[in-house]
Amino acid sequence: MDVTLVSKNKGIQPLKFALWAGFASIIMMFIALTSAYIVRHSAGNWLEFKLPNAFIFSTITIILSSITMHMSYSGFKKGSETNYKLFLIATLALGLIFIMFQYQGWQEMHHIGVDLDGNPSGSFVYVISGLHAAHVLGGLAILTVAILHAFSLKYKPTEKRLLRFQLSTQYWHFVDILWVYLFVFFLLFR
């Protein structure tokens, strides 16, 4: 099966390309949701509320996790096994903390009386951040597999493992950037 993957041109690796095409469709989904948000926002009858503070902390956390992910990746490439394993675990931990902050954010919203079934302004935040969290959970699953590989397989940066790790890294950075976009979006369109 691997042989079918040999690309004839010297450009981008096919699976990486496929992943980026997948990003395109995820982006389109969030564009659709945020556009719906804008359309509904401009129609009036819109409850304004302060975004929960937990979302600020979660944003910082996920940006940090991207940094640790990158450090793990460069550790893997440069042959530093300790950095590779250590920062990978750190990334997973930060990812879990991110989900906890998101959950806390939803709790904060609930406490100030903004519920899922209230004014659409709140519903949109719940649905969009929830859908994003689902994508982060997918990322956490990927990270778990990466950690299992890191600890169960002998450290050997072969091309195949490098590719697999790159795909995981890129997905993780993607959900990170996606959240930063969504957070800025929520701040701009209150």
């Binding site: 099966m1 042989v3 079918t4 993957l5 040999v6 690309s7 004839k8 041109n9 450009g11 981008i12 096919p14 699976l15 390309f17 496929a18 095409a21 997948g22 395109a24 469709s25 995820i26 389109m28 989904m29 969030f30 564009i31 659709a32 949701l33 719906a36 359309v39 509904r40 129609a43 009858n45 819109w46 899922l116 079934d117 004014n119 659409p120 519903s123 949109f124 649905v127 859908l131």
Partner: protein, 617 residues
Amino acid sequence: MSTQNIEVREEVDEIIEKNGYDDHFHDHHASDKYKSSFVGKYIFSLDHKMISRQFLITGIVWAIIGAAFSVIFRLQLGFPEADMAWLKPLLGKWIVLNDAGIGSISQDFYYALVTMHGTILIFFVLTAGLSGTYSNFLIPLQVGARDMASPLLNMLSYWFFFLAGLVMLYSLFLSTGPFSGGWTAYPPLSALPQASSGSKGGMNLWIISMTLFIVSQLLGGINYVTTILNLRTKGMSMWKMPLTIWSFLVTAILGILTFPVLFAGVLLLLFDRSMGTSFYLSEIFIQGAALENVGGSPILYQHLFWFLGHPEVYIVILPAMGIVSEIMSVNSRKPIFGYRAMAYSLMAIAFLSLLVWAHHMFTSGMNPFITNFFVLFTLIIAMPSSIKTFNWLTTLFRGNLRLNSAMLYCIGFVSFFISGGLTGIWVGSSTLDIPLHDTYFVVAHFHLVMGVAAFFGMFAGLSYWYPKMFGRYMNETVLKVHFWITLIGAYCIFWPQHYLGLAGVPRRYYRFDSFNSFTGWEGVNEFITISAIVVFFTQLLWVFNFFYSMWRGKKVTERNPWHSNSIEWTTPIIPPHGNWPGKLPKVERWPYDYGKDGKDYITQITPYAEGEEVIAH
């Protein structure tokens, strides 16, 4: 089937052996998973050719179900007084008996039939059945790849589609019936379970099924694009690709960009249904009670839906266009007229299709100044469409036509595309659309231009590639009989509907005799229904031909029976796993060198002869 692989070496083998590209594919004999077990070969197959056949046969099954539904609701429209009690064994409680024992189709079920007919035909047959079959089959064979970029995702794509179908099938057997609010599933009808019996469990299953279907489409689409852009064989530059591949590429990109938007729309609908949100629900009184929902907008759903919904009709028609371009050129023994113009107009249609969704919403109370924008872009689509049409006609012009069934279907396609496309200009302009909206005129328009036309593209492709798929031919006489009855029959069904629509007869109505304005059409409706029944049984004839020929059809003895240039015909009659037994062919020229320098055809892998002119296409 593998016994047929022993065949004489032909000239193309020599060329591939000499010039081909050795990717050492056959050095790895380790993986046996493609050949051995029944399950690995026929069910959870990773081979694109088998997955393509799975899509095809599943699509055929769905097409029969969807078409049978249309015959049942046509019976109601053509013969509203007729006794339908004979359908009771099949439909059970959906046939309501009155005191005199006369049976009629229940009104709820009528709407369910209309809804399911639309959903099944558009998504399961003309999207998955058409793109799934041909993209899977032709992309690796025509670009010169061993298989798809990810055979695993490809297999998952089929099985998600299969699951989507299973869920939809299950919804047909619910006691409250399948969803019945139209294939567009507009809220509030679709958002409120109490709105109709079909909006209860049937709608939940509809949403689940659509979600699985979207996953299938994305997995498939990502794979198609990746394969086309990354796995082309040596020498196969973009401008040497057959137009089929161009059309699959554009279709897949369109799907990747628009299906997620449908998912977003359906997700919010699901929240409105089950979590009490008010994305689409505003102040509503239903069954004497006021709902708690405030501030939603049902129009928001229409925007999200039609952002997929409109490109979706191009997802349906573009592959058919590619298939027709290829087959028409081969059977005219002439290069396709305006190769690049054909590819550019595919791209133009796809791009414009993203800007015109609101032309489905002219009657939704939109600002008339905004409608101008959408009218303008809608009418601009007429330009790439007519470029394509004129190019097909000029390809035929002075061609050395071979009027085999595949060619006839192509000509039929162009005919339907013209007669359905011209009314697109009518309904694309808001002034005309406002009176014509939701009448039979629209039904006639889209059935001709994307329904029947896409089917003819599909039929053409099967007549033409059946030998490559199954190593046998379908019966040509039966195909021609099928062609003529279907061509004439489809016009008999849809042509009169234009007149109904112009008279203002609305679509989706259960019966018309309680409205004075719509009486007088009984004879026409009977005529349409009888035509529909005839066409339906003719399709069964085609299906019989399809399956019968798989085992009993005339065997293919020639590697390249249509004397075509494209490289799928350089593979053995039944291509093995990996498609080419030895090296991959190296592509030298574009696929349409027919009748050049007095030669009938020159395959894509034939190197340029000494002193041969290289024509820029």
